[in-house]
């Protein structure tokens, strides 16, 4: 078997603290992402998702461990890895349009002004920003509009790997849906690989091929890799009728509500730090236990599962 497109090996991040004990954000995190795969990562706030993403982007360095993309170790940032930052990171003295052309110019230094403008407008229109709004400064745009500019900037450079840190967090449900569809459309029409952080379980199921589940920090780990084998194209309205949907959903919600904490408390000290472990692959949709929304809970530790976990309405992690 040839090497995966993106390989993360035994990544550990520690922040030294002058007085007391070092803060170990995550430890021995290892996983692979194949070319063209769409992978989401879910975990509670502060477990280190953004930090992992910054290491993948080459903006931050891990205390130990390695990231390999396309057979080459990631040592610094690259135009092959486009980033949508959690806080948008738009340049406030440039208009929305100029923020996008900034990226396009960096990617295609040989292009003419017209080519750069045309390409930038294409992506701005794709995220629904046109008709004058593109000439405004970020401070004159709403949070959701800023996020869309940031998305357009990252997509417009057409990187091999898209790194998205909660890219839809500030969007209303309608825009969020539109841009999710756009993202899927861009992604499926290209060779691009996507790694996305989200807090929204339903969004992850709708978009991802695989969802990585992180335990709570400190000493966070990627505990499971949940395969979403719901056939594509997926549709927001129809996906909930898929027989595997609630099994997956319940599995995720249960992990976040109970097991992420339980697993964090039982740190496996026995298997030494020498051998990097890949997270266990789980396919909740094919679990042996019954079917239908009510019986989705898999191998959870508690028999008495709390009632709200199986309620079918959208549930987000951030209350």
């Amino acid at each position: 078997m040839n090497n995966p497109f993106l390989q993360i090996d035994a990544l550990t991040k520690r922040y030294p603290s002058p007085g007391g004990e070092d803060l170990t954000v995550f430890e021995e995190v290892s996983f692979d992402i194949n070319k063209g795969e769409f992978v989401c990562i879910i975990g509670h706030s502060g477990c280190g998702k953004s930090t992992i993403m910054n290491v993948l982007a080459g903006l931050d360095t891990a205390t130990s461990g390695a990231v390999t993309m396309d057979g080459k170790e990631v040592v610094g940032p690259s135009l092959d890895r486009g980033v949508v930052f959690q806080n948008y990171s738009l340049l406030p003295w440039r208009s929305a349009l100029k923020n996008v052309t900034f990226g396009v110019r960096a990617r295609h230094p040989d292009w003419s002004k017209e080519q750069i403008l045309e390409h930038s407008y294409k992506y701005l229109e794709m995220v629904g920003l046109s008709g004058g709004a593109e000439h405004r400064k970020p401070s004159q745009l709403s949070g959701g509009m800023r996020q869309r500019v940031s998305i357009a900037r990252a997509f417009a450079i057409q990187p091999k790997l898209l790194l998205l840190d909660e890219p839809f967090g500030a969007l209303d449900a309608l825009t969020r849906g539109t841009i999710q569809d756009e993202l899927i459309r861009i992604w499926s029409g290209s060779e691009q690989t996507v790694f996305m952080i989200t807090h929204d379980v339903d969004e992850a199921i709708l978009l991802a091929d695989r969802i990585l589940l992180m335990t709570n920090g400190p000493y966070a780990r990627v505990a499971e890799s949940v395969v979403i084998d719901i056939p594509r194209p997926r549709n927001r309205a129809e996906i909930i009728h898929d027989p595997g949907y609630y099994k997956i959903r319940n599995h995720l919600v249960e992990f976040l509500a109970l097991r992420s904490k339980a697993l964090a408390e039982e740190r496996p000290d026995d298997d030494g730090p020498m051998k990097p472990r890949r997270p266990a692959t789980v396919r909740p949709a094919h679990s042996a236990e019954g079917e239908g929304p009510e019986d989705g809970l898999g191998e959870g530790p508690g028999e008495d599962r709390p009632a709200p976990l199986v309620e079918p309405e959208r549930m987000s992690l951030v209350q």
Binding site: G58, P77, S78, F85, L91, F102, A106, R107
Partner: protein, 276 residues
Amino acid sequence: MVSSLPARALFLSAVILVVTLGIWELSTPAVKAAGEMTEYEMLMGGADQEARVPPPSQVLERAWEELSNPFYDNGPNDKGIGIQVGYSLFRVLTGYFLAAMIAIPIGFLIGMSPLMYRALDPFIQVLRPISPLAWMPLALFIIKDSEASSIFVIFICSIWPMLINTAFGVAGVRKDWVNVARTHELGSLRTALTVILPAAAPTIVTGMRISIGIAWLVIVAAEMLVGGTGVGYYVWNEWNNLDLTSVIFSILVIGVVGMLLDAAFAQVQRAVRYQE
């Protein structure tokens, strides 16, 4: 009366001006008889019209005379106010732009590199509080030219605010913005020009504005010391001529020119400002 705040402020300013000038005009004593003069007044030229503080009407008259022919040149001790202001502006702007050309790049370096910051900090801390005029003897001795020496004094006094503000602005550029440049693989020069410079520009221009203000303060003193030409020399020369009307007139000119310089930089500040 219902009117906007600026209109009311303007009205109040006019009232204050008229009242102040009125009091000044009325309180200026008439020419005294010789018997009433103090010893000092005798020394200062006795009943000479010029030896007392002139009323505003006289100053206005003088202003009208001077401003209607600002560029006349009747030899070294009698030049029009326009020529004198021109000499001063030339010195200020030369010294100032030389300072900017050095302060802004070095400020960039200090702001980008914690090592350079620490290495250069002690020098800056010692040199900065030195009064620019204290450099004058040394400058005259080394440069041996009064013109270049006054330019040097302007240079040395305007360098610090620009240097410190540039370093401060550059060091304070948000890491997120630098990361944007990094993820787009911009080289260090492109990063400096397209991200760090615009991000730090408001702080840098504030430093430039402070510097030009200080430079204009210092040039008057420097020209009084060095003599020859310039608005500072003009003030001193008129004082030696005991022409207080001209002294007051030139004080006003210094104020107005300083205000215009400051207003120009306020305009630049407005142009580079951005909102996060």
